[in-house]
């Protein structure tokens, strides 16, 4: 095996020396959970990723005949299967990995850092990985949970004021659910509001106990922090307990399927979004035309343009842009070259699909911009402009947490 690989490598090297620069097939490992916990997002998200990569190959975005291939595997949210899938994809030459699963990402983070492979954790994962000096190969890419919480609080401030108001944060009882805690703590002092946390047990199919407490608290705003089926339950139970939909603000994980599950009373609920939804965007239009209509789509056509589909498209748009920049000058795309490519991205907005992002060696979050959108009964309508809320505070929290991590390891 090793001998054969060496032989192949040597042959490739010799061939590479004699021939002009050969076209490269860039490989991305999309090793996600299709069957266990993250099923609410993975299907549409991964479909968007694969369709966008098909578009890249159809249009030759990477130039010089370079192509990109996705290695897609199910990990079932099990770390040991994630480790296997990672090692295998690594052998197959993947330089970028997207696990979309907290336990799997956590189990592989160190190994990927040691292997100098890029791991993207778009809109999920640990927030302090935004500090590129401590986590050089991890890219949260879009607004972290901390930035999302700040954006929602800022929106409350702009729409109804914060001073003296009460915010209830109703969250799933897990590390993910507790993410906004530090941001709320810091902002409550700055903006003079009070808040209280109401956890409910995972997976959140039953939340009546938490919401009857919330009702007694009489909040002015409600922040819901969960994912999957629990989100629809949150919205429904909130409304049953006399909370108006307009008061409800959600983390990024609230989408069209949840709205369908809640029904017409969902109208007015707001959520954070890192990418625009809908099909009215140049990239999505071209996917429709060159990939879907050409019969090369990777899933149900009805999903095109949903929130998670577009999020998937945006992740790959940024990753492909990074790969393109990393390969400039004809060098092969290693993990290091890809990281350098990411850090060359400045003001990239995927033709308006998302806020402009700029990555530097320090900031792997890309600014943390986003906006708030409201469900109008049919679709998500943006109610604020793309921008980053409280960027200094978020940066400070990121750096403190990263410094703590660096000190411990």
């Amino acid at each position: 095996m090793t001998f054969l690989r060496k032989l192949a490598l040597t042959t490739a090297l010799v061939a590479g020396l004699s021939a002009p620069v050969a076209a490269e097939d860039v490989k991305f490992g999309l090793l996600q959970d299709f069957t266990a916990v993250y099923t609410f997002v993975t299907g549409q998200y991964n479909q968007g990723q694969q369709d966008y990569l098909a578009l890249v190959n159809a249009e030759g975005t990477l130039g010089d005949g370079n192509t990109v291939t996705a290695i897609v595997r199910d990990t079932g949210n099990q770390p040991q299967r994630g480790i296997e899938a990672y090692n295998r994809a690594k052998e197959e030459g993947a330089v970028l990995f997207d696990f979309l699963s907290t336990p799997v990402s956590a189990a592989i983070l160190d190994q990927a850092q040691a292997d100098k492979n890029v791991v993207i954790t778009p809109a999920h994962g640990r927030g302090d990985a935004s500090d590129g000096t401590v986590f050089p190969y991890v890219f949260p890419m879009f607004a972290t949970y901390w930035a999302q919480a700040a954006a929602l609080i800022e929106h409350m401030k702009e729409t109804g004021g914060l001073e003296g108001k009460k915010i209830a944060i109703v969250h799933i009882d897990s590390p993910f659910g507790r993410e906004p805690g530090p941001i709320l703590q810091a902002l409550s002092e700055q903006e003079k509001f009070e808040f209280q946390a109401f956890p409910y047990a995972s997976p959140g199919n039953e939340q009546s106990a938490a919401w009857s407490e919330v009702r007694r608290y009489r909040p002015d705003y409600v922040l819901i922090w969960g994912a999957g089926g629990g989100q629809a339950v949150s919205v429904r139970t909130a409304i049953q307990n006399g909370i108006r939909p307009e008061q409800i603000h959600s983390v990024i994980w609230l989408a069209e399927t949840d709205a369908a599950n809640v029904g017409p009373q969902m109208k007015g609920v707001k959520r954070f979004e890192a990418t625009a939804s809908g099909t009215d965007h140049p990239i999505i239009q071209r996917i429709q035309e060159k990939v879907i209509d050409a019969g090369k789509g990777s899933g149900d056509q009805a999903n095109v343009g949903t929130s998670y589909y577009n999020l998937g498209v945006a992740t790959m748009a940024v990753a492909v842009e990074a790969a393109r920049l990393g390969m400039e000058g004809g060098q092969p795309l290693t993990g290091d070259a890809l990281k350098a490519g990411f850090e060359k991205i400045a003001g990239f907005d995927a033709e308006g699909l998302m806020p402009p992002v700029t990555y530097t060696a320090e900031d792997h979050q890309g600014g943390g911009a986003g906006r708030v959108s409201e469900w109008d009964g049919e679709k998500w309508v943006p109610v604020s402009e793309w921008h980053a809320a409280y960027p200094e505070l978020i940066r400070q929290v990121i750096e403190e947490s990263a410094a703590k991590y660096a000190a411990e390891h």
Partner: protein, 357 residues
């Protein structure tokens, strides 16, 4: 024929009590052991790190659980929690400056004590009711780990294992981690085979078969049941520590969730209750079959054999896997161990047809 019996005489009690009385069995075991020891030399890092190493560790876990479920007949549906206690205890002990060797033992002891406390429920309840009691342990331990930042490691609940050495060998390279895990699994295997021949082992079996009948013949159910939970939890705790240090190297609460407990029970059942070889085969099957199937189906899809959506593609291996479990259990309810036993017995007298026992 293949397991040649002729010329093999047991002339002393000692010879008759050997673990492997038939030379072929002995040579098979020695051969497998040598192959396992030399694995880092001929297995590629991909297969060693992603297949063989987790298989060895989960076999140790299945052995720990089958001592309780197979030998003592006490159902345990919260065994992942026992391993979690071992994993977290060992990491915090090492971080506090305790040498790794000692930390392994102490983490085993901590798991054993906590496991035995929950096992106390077994003194009053049996069967499904005991399942409920052990489930409570699973959820309580999960809750404590998630809600006590001092245990889980703070906001992101990921705790990295510090660099350690075992008897002066640094446990850093893949081979070193593999050998340590293999050493522990072999130790457990040998212990398990021997415990069946001790008075303690026979007491466990007596309790399993009928606890008040065992009490009548002088086996103390109180002591024996507690000892069963204590021993099994000790083994599980150390296995949890080995899992953390040798395989994951960064622990999160999800690694020891309820679904892992169910996987462990599945390993023990599919392999064959109370069987050593069954624990190894069961762990290998439950752990590796989904991975092999996923890769197989993805390979077929890539070559255009099964043109289906990604979603169906991901669920297809699960369907095959489920069908395989049902198939195996229909074919042989006593598990994979019994299937091996049938094959062995067939060859024991081959080319003749019948074998005694």
């Amino acid at each position: 024929m293949f397991y040649r019996l002729s010329g093999t005489y047991h002339t002393s009690y000692q010879a008759d009590r050997k673990l492997w009385k038939i030379p072929t069995d002995r040579w098979l075991v020695i051969g497998l052991l040598v192959l396992a020891l030399l694995a880092p030399l001929y297995v590629s890092p991909l297969y060693l790190g992603s297949y063989v190493l987790p298989w060895v560790i989960w076999s140790a876990a299945a052995l720990s659980l089958t001592l309780l479920m197979g030998l003592a007949g006490q159902l345990h549906f919260g065994f992942a929690a026992v391993m979690a206690i071992g994993a977290y205890a060992s990491i915090h002990l090492v971080r506090a400056g305790v040498p790794f060797e000692l930390a392994l033992l102490l983490s085993g002891l901590i798991s054993a004590v906590i496991g035995a406390i929950f096992g106390g429920a077994a003194l009053r309840v049996k069967g499904l009711y005991l399942v409920m009691a052990t489930l409570a342990m699973q959820y309580l331990v999960d809750w404590v780990v998630v809600n006590v930042p001092a245990i889980s490691g703070g906001a992101h609940a990921t705790l990295r294992t510090p660099a350690v050495s075992f008897l002066f060998f640094p446990i850093e390279s893949l081979s070193a981690r593999y050998w340590l895990a293999l050493g522990w699994a072999v130790l457990l295997t040998v212990f398990f085979m021997n415990v069946k021949r001790t008075s303690f082992g026979r007491a466990l079996v007596a309790i399993r078969d009928k606890d008040f009948a065992a009490a009548v013949i002088g086996v103390d159910p109180f002591r024996t049941k507690l000892m069963a939970f204590f021993t099994s939890s000790f083994m599980g705790g150390v296995t949890g520590a080995i899992l953390a240090f040798c395989f994951y190297r960064a622990v999160t609460p999800e690694q020891f969730g309820f679904n892992v407990s169910i996987q462990l029970v599945a390993m023990v059942l599919v392999g064959g209750l109370g069987s050593v070889i069954g624990s190894w085969l069961g762990a290998g099957f439950v752990l590796l079959a989904p991975i092999f199937l996923t890769n197989l189906v993805s390979g077929l899809a890539a070559s255009g054999w099964v043109p289906v959506s990604q979603n169906f593609l991901s669920h297809l291996p699960l369907m095959i896997y489920g069908a395989m479990i049902i198939g195996f259990l229909l074919l042989e309810p006593l598990g994979l161990a019994k299937i091996y036993d049938n094959i062995r017995k067939y060859f024991l007298v081959w080319p003749f047809r019948h074998a005694r026992s």
